[in-house]
């Protein structure tokens, strides 16, 4: 059963009571929240995600509630609770939906150590995955959204999950986080994209999330093999350009972008080295998606010939 089959009223009821249990990629989440923005965001962006049986094992329970005390009446706040703790400081209540997304990412990146977890976007075409690690402001999520809008399969815009068991990349297919100028860029480049309400004045600026395509959500059980490691960089006015880069240095950079490389020790080293072994590594500069996407398409096309 999909979340869309519940209707918004039932989504709100479940969120406000025992919790709404849904599956995103390899994880079952139980989400609890009486906050309307959470209901609206989930109903819009997670409509195509499967619900989880009440008796199923839940990997993570995420609770978002209004803070108590006088703050209920004066600039109300939302607090994320996980396993009885509060990992984040409370945020203004209208930041509730982005906070849910960040909280879900936090749960995975701090606990799912059966994966080597990279802070990187990852998309797939014809079975080959392109891993794009990059710091904030590099245009990683914008590029990810652009590629997904032109037929690349979304695995994740934030967390690349490389299985410790087989070295394959597990899809998450969660909504793509876009912020500030990226919002207008994507609305222009992909007018059909579904974005939820923009949240202003967050720590990352103005933030919205782009819905993953239903076809990508449907394929979350299909892993992908690493094929390219590309470090993107948005440079105003620059023509799109791919430049081959050192494999050894790419491996170290990937390690720096990993949440649990050190924790996994030798296993992490072997997985990362295998990723590099199987991948062509590039630096990529761009300023326009109209130029960037065809370059990526050409990489995939070269693979098919």
């Amino acid at each position: 059963m999909m979340l869309s089959q519940l209707g918004t009223h039932e989504v709100a009821r479940r969120l406000g009571n025992g919790g709404l249990a849904l599956r995103t990629g390899p994880f079952n989440f139980r989400i609890r929240s009486p906050i309307e923005a959470v209901t609206e965001g989930l109903a819009l962006l997670y409509a195509d995600y499967p619900l989880v049986d009440e008796n199923a094992f839940i990997d993570f329970t995420v609770t978002l509630e209004r803070s108590g005390g006088l703050r209920r009446w004066w600039r109300p706040q939302v607090q994320f609770t996980h396993d009885g703790g509060h990992p984040f400081v409370p945020l203004p209540v209208d930041h509730a939906f982005p906070l849910l997304e960040w909280a879900m990412n936090w749960c995975i990146s701090t606990q799912a150590h059966h994966f080597l977890i990279l802070h990187a976007a990852v998309m797939e075409r014809d079975g080959g995955a392109v891993i794009m690690p990059a710091p904030p402001g590099s245009g990683k999520s914008t590029l990810c959204a652009g590629l997904v809008s032109r037929g690349w399969r979304l695995l994740s815009d934030e967390l690349t999950l490389i299985s410790v068991a087989d070295g394959l990349i597990a899809p998450l297919a969660r909504p793509i986080s876009l912020k500030n100028q990226s919002l207008a860029v994507i609305r222009r480049f992909a007018p059909e994209a579904v974005l939820n309400q923009v949240t202003h004045d967050t720590s990352k600026g103005s933030v919205s999330h782009m819905k993953a395509r239903a076809a990508d959500v449907k394929r979350v059980a299909e892993p992908a093999r690493p094929r390219w490691v590309i470090f993107p960089k948005y440079m105003p006015g620059a023509d799109a350009s791919l430049t081959a880069r050192s494999k050894a240095n790419s491996m170290l950079e990937l390690g720096r972008n990993a949440f649990n490389y050190t924790l996994l020790g030798r296993t992490g080293f072997d997985i990362l080295a295998d990723v590099i072994e199987a991948s062509d590594c590039y630096d990529f500069t761009y300023s326009r998606l109209e130029q960037a996407v065809p370059l990526f398409d050409a990489l995939a096309a070269r693979e098919r010939t």
């Binding site: 494999k247 050894a248 240095n249 170290l252 050190t262 020790g265 030798r266 080293f269 080295a273």
Partner: protein, 92 residues
């Protein structure tokens, strides 16, 4: 002075052409190296030896003619490997 691998070090190697990475399971650190540095570390890993012997062996293995120049280069490499905690020196 005899150079030997740090006793707490356990090395695991990968390379692509002339680029090397080595994981030290003892420290959990990963290092990137060029071929000469990698060969130096592997020779010391296999057999502890003083710098002079190291220079001779590597000059022979890599067929490098100028041992005096190599001595300077290897001296720097050995110092860097020691700074990274991968090797140590001991009295013979």
């Amino acid at each position: 002075m005899v150079w030997h691998l740090n006793a707490l070090t356990a090395l695991h190697w990968r390379h692509w052409d002339d680029e090397w990475v080595v994981f030290d399971a003892g420290s959990g650190q990963t290092h990137q190296m060029d071929t000469l540095t990698a060969v130096t570390l592997m020779v010391i890993e296999a057999t502890p030896m003083p710098l002079a012997d190291l220079v001779s062996q590597i000059a022979q293995e890599l067929q490098l003619p100028n041992e005096r120049e190599l001595d300077l280069v290897l001296s720097g490499i050995v110092q860097r490997l020691a700074s990274a905690g991968l090797i140590e020196s001991a009295a013979p």
